[in-house]
Symmetry: none
Subunit: 193 residues, 4 copies
DNA sequence: AATGAATGAGATTTCATTCAT
DNA sequence: AATGAATGAAATCTCATTCAT
């Protein structure tokens, strides 16, 4: 009846909400159309199938993350890491989204496969940037070089989900870096440095 | 055809494999029965529906984790934290499993609801233990007291997924604690302590 | 294949046929869709489950019966009873349908429960009307007052299934009332009144 | 474990309870075995399939009814009718059971078919007896001969379900016959005859 | 004789997707 | 461009029935 005008971005926004609320399996076009107050079949005018929509959404988030990360490029070493962390803590979703990724490549239509491959590639790219920043910080003498780069990278990467674990209490990249930098050792530096 | 004997534990083991391979939405009794070479309906003799099986599986994992954590009780402060971390790093699955939890409590049958509530309670219990260990370590002077207990707890909790992020390369609780303890500051302690 | 247009009323009509042919347990959406030459899942666009469809059907029949009974309101006493009987004899189905009722309220979804409760209420309403008509007839001196109102009501109520028992041979309310009114006593009234 | 001794009659008794409680579709071997506290498969030692059990049960009821009806043979006319009515009012179940009959002959295994045919035959037999008694009563001048024998028979037959309609209040054959005999006409006979 | 365990056939239900308007 | 209506394919679930012990 009421022919509501649709804008593709609205679709992606609603998709995000739904994905985060119900996860991949609870994500139906039925629920999506209901949330938007549009007809179920209307979605097909924009995305040829479910996985394409999800992929498009994930792609969008990834692009934003990548873009934000690129803005940290001028920074160096520890500051870049801090910058990355702030980005990650802003995009809480990506953690969950990354976990949805493997569900897509099974039914992998040829083109779908490419899109997923691209996502995985971007994922690796971010990891590589972190590793580079760590190595730079090490070579600059900013951080100790006797800790495993991979482990540090992994800890920073997994910090992505801190906001989830901390349930509401806000965390910033500075806080995390401070913790990692100072360490828990009671004799490390001065408390109020 | 051949009436293969089934043991409930096999079911849970296969369920774990399937859940980790395909996630909640890719988890079907069809796939499970195929994996085990048994009739689909046989599974219903053991679990009255899909969610009950998944809940039972999660319950089992949680119980093991809790049990293993309890074994750390004799340790104190930092050592207990190290112990917990080692437990978490052993049970990589729980991270993903915790993310499946919210999918269960929607359709929540009365009893199902209880089971899920129990899981959430156990989840909180573990978090409380971590907090207690951190506070003990602080009061014992083992770690600095000017870092947020909640943030430390969150970092330890989110370390659960390190094995996932590090894709195969092994991590131990000692490594993580060492990193957190020494910190990244180049002047902290002696490198080879 | 060919997307046959469906009208909800057709569904209820076919459902009636099927219910009367095969009873509650022989009533499947499979059989229904076959009878109508439509896809099985199409039915779910109209009724969210089997019981809802059956309840909707029964509700429709009940409403018609109630409506027809209401039309007898202007009549009084014996004539109203005659009117009711004619209605009942027209809706042979309700007898069987009433027997299906108890099968529905077990699984009773919240809303389903209400629908069933409504049916039972309507059922009682009709019974009350019969009782009232009998009492009126008694007070008007149309019928003897030394017979149990409840028994008379029950006999009229159970006449509903006369068409079933008489297998094809037609019965009218007049015939039944005549039999009940004159009685079998050979000396009652004049044979050819 | 506990090997409970089973007696075939118990099975039929429990089957009756279940049939009346839940109808044909709610009648499962699972429910039956639960009610008796025996193993589900044990039932197969006594009845080779579900329909055979139901048929056996119905057969038993029918035989009892037929037998009881035969005991009315010495009576004549109106008294025999009264006798039949008393029998019917004792076996409330048969009404429901007769409605289950048609559900059996669909899957009709060859032997099952015979059993069902037998039931239908017995059903007709009873109807014939009623007709004979009515005709006898007519020829004896006990009842008016200007009322349709078939209608009278149908009314008596459908009285079977009076106990159901009257919900608990007891009815006797005498009461029904009295009502039918005296009729509702206020001038018929003396009230207290 | 009694049973627990396993299963296949079929009913119920959900949902992505297509199609005509 | 937007939608309501219809559908097939696949998943969930139930139950009569078989089989080995």
């Amino acid at each position: 009846m009421a022919k509501k005008k649709i804008n593709p971005q609205e679709l992606l926004d609603a998709a995000e909400e739904l994905l985060l609320e119900r996860g991949y399996s609870g994500f139906h076009f039925g629920a999506l159309s209901e949330k938007l107050g549009i007809g179920r079949s209307t979605i097909y005018e924009y995305f040829s199938d479910k996985d394409e929509l999800i992929t498009a959404y994930m792609d969008q988030v990834m692009n934003r993350v990548i873009e934000d990360c690129r803005e940290c490029a001028p920074l160096s070493g520890l500051n870049r890491l801090k910058g990355y962390l702030n980005v990650f803590l802003r995009y809480t979703q990506i953690q969950r989204i990354i976990q949805i990724l493997p569900m897509l490549d099974l039914s992998a239509s040829p083109e779908g496969g490419e899109a997923v491959a691209k996502l995985i590639e971007q994922h690796r790219l971010i990891h590589r940037w972190i590793v580079e920043a760590i190595e730079e910080a090490k070579s600059m003498g900013e951080i100790r070089s006797d800790q495993s780069t991979r482990l540090i990278a992994a800890m920073i990467f997994s910090s992505i989900q801190l906001p989830d674990v901390m349930q509401g209490e806000s965390v910033t990249g500075e806080m995390v870096i401070d913790l990692l930098y100072q360490g828990l050792h009671p004799d490390n530096g001065s408390p109020n440095r």
